[in-house]
């Protein structure tokens, strides 16, 4: 006999919620603000990180596949106090013969590359001159592969470049374009700090990271660098494994060789860092996790505060609308209907704040990311999570006022003026 028509009931409750919210615009907007801030803070952080993440992670593919690198300093430092910096500075450098020793003993390694960032300065051709911010690097032939450098034009270094410490150069894409705007740089001369180098190759562009080009450098043979800058030049040694499956064994083998070379006593920790694409990405994620957790804490505090605000407003609303509740009860509304109406009102209130927060958060997050030259993203998952959280806040903090409303005495309520 009695049909349950939940949809009608919800629609009625929804219409009344909008009605009630519209009738108290100032009060409602103040309540919305809390929710808005909470949702905004989480969405803006998530959007910005999401936008940066893809960009950064692809740029972190600095090394070739199945490759790791040994260096004195950690790749990403979180603790920046001088004490821990001292520890790194006390470490022994890597020397060129180390690479040869590894190459000799590391039976699992496919190739061992050496590279160094030796200097920074301007490079000139017979046409033009760059600004003085070009990185001057030394590399062994293997390092082209271990560092993921692919040659677009010409050739990488060969053994005779090494043994002869020849003045040849491979140019980063930006440098090549800047110095030789009209034709191929191959066979031309470039000059760096008074020394001329014969251009034998040009690299594929790598793009930019954090808005900075990664193609503003020139490379010369590592032996040439060592001749010019001395044997103390800080080196990075990169090892490529034959495949993913032997990667862990290769890494362990090389670590053992290095410890022996550097005379690290057994039981003591390594006096060098081993980094890989994976470890870089992992470290980046650890750092963003802290940021995300921070945003989560701020958002939670804001949402709880907002929830209490909603509860407060709803309690006022229930008192103000005692008469309405009495009327509805008299004409047949059950307690459950009144509950639904007021909870839905709290949810709608909370969702309106949430939707505004999500929209503003995504816009602001993308603006922040756009400042660093990344394409816009729309974090659907976080938007949905935001909406769900708003519903939970609305339900959690709307239930008590709704329960109060539902349990008002109908006769008393009808008499209320």
């Amino acid at each position: 006999m009695k049909r349950l028509n939940l949809f009608s009931e919800l629609r009625e409750a929804f219409a009344m919620a909008i009605n009630a919210i519209a009738a108290h615009k100032l009060r409602s907007s103040l309540t919305l603000l809390g929710i808005l801030i909470g949702v905004f803070s989480i969405i803006v952080v998530m959007t910005a990180i999401r936008a940066l993440q893809g960009n950064i992670e692809s740029n972190m593919q600095q090394l070739g596949s199945d490759t790791f690198q040994m260096q004195r300093f950690p790749a990403i430092r979180v603790d920046d106090d001088s004490e821990s910096m001292d520890k790194y500075f006390r470490r022994k450098r890597f020397y060129y013969p180390d690479a040869a020793s590894i190459r000799e003993r590391a039976t699992l390694a496919k190739s061992v590359g050496v590279s160094a960032d030796a200097d920074v300065g301007a490079v000139a051709s017979r046409f033009r001159k760059t600004n003085p911010s070009i990185s001057f690097r030394g590399m062994s032939p293997e390092a082209f592969e271990t560092q993921n450098y692919s040659v677009a034009e010409g050739r990488p270094f060969v053994e005779s470049d090494m043994s002869g410490s020849r003045n040849v150069a491979v140019l980063g894409a930006d440098v090549a374009k800047k110095l030789f705007p009209f034709g191929s740089p191959l066979g031309e001369w470039v000059q760096f700090k008074g020394v001329k180098y014969n251009v034998v190759g040009v690299l594929e562009p790598k793009g930019s990271m954090f808005g900075r080009s990664q193609d503003e450098f020139m490379v010369v043979p590592i032996t040439t660098v060592l001749n010019r800058y001395g044997r103390e030049t800080s080196l990075r040694i990169q090892v490529q494994a034959h495949s993913q499956s032997v990667y862990p064994d290769t890494l362990e083998q090389v670590r053992g060789i290095l410890r022996a070379l550097r005379k690290v006593p057994p039981g003591e920790e390594d006096d060098f860092e081993i980094v890989s694409n994976d470890s870089l990405i992992k470290q980046f994620r650890t750092i963003t996790l802290a940021v995300r957790a921070g945003a989560g804490v701020i958002a939670s505090i804001a949402l709880v505060a907002a929830g209490i605000g909603i509860m407060n407003i709803m309690l006022v609303s229930v008192t103000e609308r005692t008469k309405e509740i009495g009327i509805r009860r008299a004409i047949g509304a059950k307690k459950r209907n009144i509950m639904t109406q007021f909870i839905l009102e709290a949810v709608v209130l909370s969702e309106i704040g949430g939707i505004i927060g999500i929209v503003l958060g995504i816009v602001a997050g993308n603006l922040a990311a756009a400042a660093l030259n990344t394409p816009p993203v729309f974090p659907w998952d976080w938007a949905l999570i935001g909406l769900a959280v708003c519903s939970v806040v609305g339900i959690a903090f709307g239930t008590y006022p709704a329960w109060k409303a539902a349990n008002l005495d109908p006769i008393e309520s009808l008499r209320y003026e």
């Binding site: 349950l4 009608s8 009327i327 009860r329 109908p410 006769i411």
Partner: protein, 245 residues
């Protein structure tokens, strides 16, 4: 089977150490189609009786059968359903939802009855047209006169086709002319077979009913047929003529 059977109904209010005996034992039978006035001075227990009849309240003791169903000990949920299906309330202060238009106010009982919206709308439009407000469907209460508001309330009371229309001082907030209009409406409804119970302290209003029950101090003092009920005055612009047959 009578529409309402009440036996020895009592209602006490306990306030701290004091107990108010609002109804001390009321026994009453009401048949379908009756037009009854419940009379009595202020504080005699009229509203208490009406709240019990309207299933807004439960008696302290006694028996109440409505339409063959014992409602004296029903729970809150079931009472809400009975109110929705069997009772149409008309209050002294109209009790319309201020922010809703006439149509929505009249639709409200049907929403809680779970009717689909098309049916709801159709019935609400019919009920409003029947009280002569077919052209006031989208007016809010504050855009209507007192008499019109009360007619919206009557339409709302009737829209569910209830067994009883219960009116508590329905003319109390109206001038005598509009009061007469509403009484005319009741008269027409009564002629159509609706059961109407009007609670009032005004002799003139009571005289329109065909049976007058007088209450004093929570007891029935008199219960008699009104030999010649007063006909409501007819007005050119409204009144009885508004009720379609």
């Amino acid at each position: 089977m009578p529409l309402i059977q009440i036996h020895d109904l009592t209602r006490r209010y306990v306030m701290g150490t004091e107990t108010v005996h609002a109804l001390r034992g009321v026994t009453l039978t009401i048949e379908r189609g009756e037009y009854i006035a419940i009379m009595g001075p202020s504080g005699s227990g009229k509203s208490t009786l009406m709240n019990l009849l309207g299933c807004l309240d439960s008696p302290t003791s006694g028996y109440y059968e409505l339409n063959g169903v014992n409602v004296a000990h029903m729970d809150d949920n079931d009472l809400a359903e009975v109110r929705n299906r069997e009772i149409g309330f008309v209050f002294q202060s109209f009790n319309l939802l201020a922010r809703s238009d006439s149509l929505h106010n009249v639709e409200l009982p049907l929403i809680y009855a779970g009717l689909p919206s098309a049916e709801r709308r159709e019935q609400a439009v019919r009920a409003l047209t029947n009280v002569g407000l077919g052209d006031r469907m989208h007016h809010r209460p504050n855009e209507l006169s007192g008499g019109q508001r009360q007619r919206v309330a009557v339409a709302r009371a009737l829209v569910n086709d209830p067994s009883i229309v219960l009116a508590d001082e329905p003319t109390g907030n109206l001038d005598s002319r509009t009061g007469e209009e509403i009484l005319g409406l009741f008269e027409a409804l009564s002629r159509k077979g609706n059961t109407i119970i009007v609670v009032t302290h005004e002799e003139e209003v009571a005289q329109h009913a065909r049976r007058i029950i007088r209450i004093r101090d929570g007891l029935i003092a008199a219960d008699e047929v009104n030999p010649n009920p007063r006909a409501a005055m007819k007005f050119a612009a409204g009144g009885t003529s508004m009720v379609a047959a």
